[in-house]
Amino acid sequence: MSTTAPPFLSIRDLSKNYGAFRALHDIDLDIRRGEFVCFLGPSGCGKTTLLRAIAGLDQQDGGTILMGGRDVSRASPSERDFGIVFQSYALFPNLTVTDNIGYGLVNRRRSSAEIARRVEELLTLVGLPEQGKKYPIQLSGGQQQRVALARALATSPELLLLDEPLSALDAKVRVRLRDEMRSLQQRLGVTTIMVTHDQEEALAMADRIVVMRDGGVEQVGTPEEIYRRPATPFVADFVGHMTFMDAIVTGPGRVRVDELDLLVANATPFAVGTPVRLAMRPEEVRTRSIGEDTPNRFEARIGDLAFLGSYCRAHLEPTSSRSTRIAADFSTNAMRDLGITAGQVCTVAFPPEALHVFAGGAR
């Protein structure tokens, strides 16, 4: 993905209102050819609205959309080049799987043998060979989803739009299908936008994630960036788990939480004395190989422990402070090696690079 190539999809200043309600505002977004992008956000934040605007199904009120260099802002859906999979799949119940997949091919002046070959190929592609004669109602949810995918891919669109395509499935199938979809996308190289409110799904599948909130874009970045360097407390809180602490800036790269003086790696633009919010992910709390020179080390009592399968979530209470509680995740390994039990006091450390500083001490 060279940075010089123009983006495949370019959205500028997009907005849409439903009456007085701002469903979308000030959306600027570039998507490169072949990229897999996830729109992630809480329910009602406008993900579907943005997706449908890109498709032309619900036109925006303002702003422009460029697709492959062409301005399609006012184009109807059929004048744009995309395939789409809806949450409901919207398979035609009265048509067989074969006819569903071939639906977009029929009116393109292609011989029926050609269509049959193409449908066969797509069925194999999505892992449903020999299911072509069935009707949608005779398929499982996961199979229906694949048929919907095959139908969307049948015309070889340049852009694939997916609106929560996995949310109607149970957890196991969802994980398997998301891996399959991801590898299929990579092999076909089709530019893909997927809407989801499942952060795990977004982190696992996307090249880049667009985090949305209240009709606006909160942050755009790779899963790594979103997770490691959330731009706002909202992103920090929404993606993964995050503990927030009230703190005061005490110097360049230094903050204080209650009695704890902490070093932070990322330079903070805040003046000394500014109240800020300090945030850290539970799994970043270090318990092992802490030496004399390890920064941000302190004694803490282990509060309640919750067993969560492969790890335990604990609540740490620094011995120097009574009011602060910090969530920490310990792997089952670490628990065993260190013999951690509730009520015990042990030494922990906050790695400076894992601490995030956000504006506004008072919430």
């Binding site: 859906p77 059929s78 809806f86 035609f92 009265n94 639906y103 029929v106 592609l125 892992g127 049948a154």
Partner: protein, 571 residues
């Protein structure tokens, strides 16, 4: 899908083509505009003609409300209004409680043979309204079998009208109440039962309030049906004038169009009122049911079930026997003096110049109306519901499509007379043709079909059209390949509804038929006027059996469609 890597090159080389040649937007626009134009022509303009005619004198000069003033100050006309109100009120008071109990028995008890009782109560729907009048004349009329039961009172007048209207409107009220009683939440009942609440108290505090919207709706529907009905007062009313017969006399007899228009507008009032009440009721009734409401399943209760069975049996007998007697009477040589049977009454040509041809005309009208009307109604509903372009025009079309519900057939017929008879109207040549009968009948029964179509369209995934657009398949292809096939049962419902009503209707078409296009239902009126009651009853029976046969064929066809043609519905 992971291990197989098909030739991706082929996938890429495949289909980058053909921007849709005809713009869907234009086609949709043309179709929606056409729909609006048709609805304006067949619904809005005739109504407008009626309204404006009521404000003109016989020469076409504008006279404001003068016609209404002279209506109110002409005693004979004004008495008709009072007569109509009295008859309609009386019928409503009789029918609604009976129908409620009947529906209650069908829904809330364990009486046997519910299907038979349901069918028995539906019979009047399949006959022209005046057959119930003829039937009563056979039983209680001057030459009636049970004339003595009348104790000297005359059937020909309010008594006969009320009795016949009761028969005729009963199924309409029952249908509404059966639905309303089906809707009530069974959990309330069970909770009350568990608390040992007395049966009467349950009825008063749960059943009745639960069905109150149905009762309100039934009251308005019955009142409107009766006050706008033309057939029954025509055959059994004698000298007792009502609004509907007045309208007919003013227009057909005296050619006093403005006064006919005034009567028409008066008739419009209760119907429009009923329409709005019904809309409110529908909304409330829908909101009353929580998504988790469970239908009430009645448990056997010997005493209650026996009592209700007795009641239902009596009512069903009272409904069916007059029709049976009228059918019998149609074969009788000289009622009631020579009861030997003959087919001569079915030689309609002896009393009605057009004879059997009128039946052929009726069949032709019903078929054409069913085919053309269903196509128009369903395609119209599709454009309104599924094509997301031109929202204003679609809202306008929706409004027009709902209008006919509020317009009694008689009033619509008057509107057609005024509109198509107007000297300036280039479509005047349609007057008296089959075409005008077809379009009038389509308009008359438009709304019920429209609602049926909308309901079934709303059940489809709203993204079918979006998917098609993404695949660059125009909406008309999706309509043909997906929407219409899935909605086939609803389409059949509409067609049968329109067909049956086209066969039995009198009120609108009686103003519009021509020399070559006299319908069977109108022939019945004329044969009755000519004193050939047996022939009138015979023709009415034939219509009734035709309608029932079509309905039965529909039930069979429905099974076939669901079973074989729609096997995709089965897992």
């Amino acid at each position: 899908m992971s291990d197989l890597a098909p030739r991706l090159t082929m996938i890429d080389a495949s289909v980058k083509v053909a921007p849709v040649r005809i713009s869907e937007r234009h086609v949709a626009g043309v179709l929606i505009v056409a729909l609006c134009a048709v609805l304006v022509l067949i619904i809005a303009l005739p109504l407008w003609a009626l309204l404006s005619k009521s404000l003109e004198d016989t020469h076409g000069n504008f006279v404001g409300l003068a016609n209404f003033v002279s209506y109110a100050t002409t005693p004979t006309l004004f008495f008709s209004l009072l007569n109509s109100l009295a008859v309609a009120s009386a019928t409503t008071v009789i029918v609604v409680p009976l129908a409620f109990l009947y529906a209650y028995a069908l829904r809330r008890s364990c009486i046997p043979a519910k299907g038979v009782f349901y069918a028995a109560a539906m019979i009047p729907v399949f006959a022209p309204s005046l057959l119930s009048g003829l039937a009563l004349i056979y039983v209680f009329g001057n030459q009636g079998l049970l004339k003595s039961w009348m104790m000297g009172a005359s059937l020909y007048g309010p008594v006969g009208i009320i009795a016949a209207e009761t028969l005729y409107s009963f199924p309409h009220a029952m249908l509404i109440l059966v639905t309303a009683l089906a809707l009530s939440d069974g959990r309330l009942r069970e909770a009350a039962d568990a608390m040992g609440t007395s049966r009467w108290r349950i009825f008063r505090t749960i059943t009745l309030p639960g069905a109150r919207y149905g009762v309100i709706s039934a009251v308005f529907v019955v009142f409107t049906l009766v006050i706008t009905d033309f057939g029954i007062p025509k055959v059994i009313g004698g000298q007792f004038n009502v609004l509907a017969t007045d309208a007919y006399k003013q227009v057909v007899g005296q050619q006093n169009f403005p006064m006919g228009a005034v009567v028409g507008i008066i008739l419009l009032v209760p119907a429009v009122l009923a329409f709005f009440v019904d809309r409110v009721v529908q909304r409330r009734q829908g909101a009353m049911l929580s998504a988790r409401a469970v239908p009430y399943v009645p448990r056997p209760d010997r005493r209650r079930d026996l009592a209700l069975l007795g009641f239902v049996g009596v009512i069903a007998f009272a409904i069916v026997s007059p029709y049976a007697i009228a059918f019998w009477g149609s074969f009788v040589k000289y009622w009631p003096y020579n009861l030997s049977l003959t087919l001569s009454n079915y030689n309609f040509a002896a009393v009605e110049p057009d004879g059997w041809k009128t039946y052929g005309n009726s069949l032709l009208l019903a078929s054409l109306t069913a085919v053309i009307g269903t196509a128009l109604i369903f395609i119209g509903a599709y454009l309104i519901e599924k094509v997301k372009l031109y929202p204003r025009l679609r809202a306008f079309a929706q409004f027009l499509a709902m209008l006919p519900m509020a317009v009694p057939g008689l009033v619509l017929g008057l509107g057609y007379v005024f509109f198509f008879n107007a000297g300036w109207n280039p479509l005047g040549f349609l007057y008296g043709t089959l075409t005008i009968l077809v379009i009038n009948t389509i308009a008359h029964f438009y709304t019920v079909g429209h609602i049926t179509a909308l309901t079934s369209l709303k059940q489809l995934d709203s993204e079918f059209e979006s998917v098609s657009a993404s695949l660059k398949v125009p909406f008309w292809s999706t309509f043909r390949r997906v929407t219409a096939p899935i909605c086939m049962p609803a389409i059949l419902d509409i067609a049968v509804y329109v067909f049956v009503n086209a066969l039995t209707t009198v009120s609108a078409v009686i103003f519009l038929y021509g020399a070559d296009t006299k319908l069977a239902s109108i022939a019945i009126v004329h044969m009755d006027e000519a004193g050939a009651m047996a022939s009138a009853a015979g023709m009415a029976s034939i219509i009734m059996f035709t309608a029932i046969a079509v309905k039965l064929a529909h039930a069979g066809l429905d099974r076939l469609v669901f079973g074989r043609l729609q096997h995709w519905r089965q897992r």
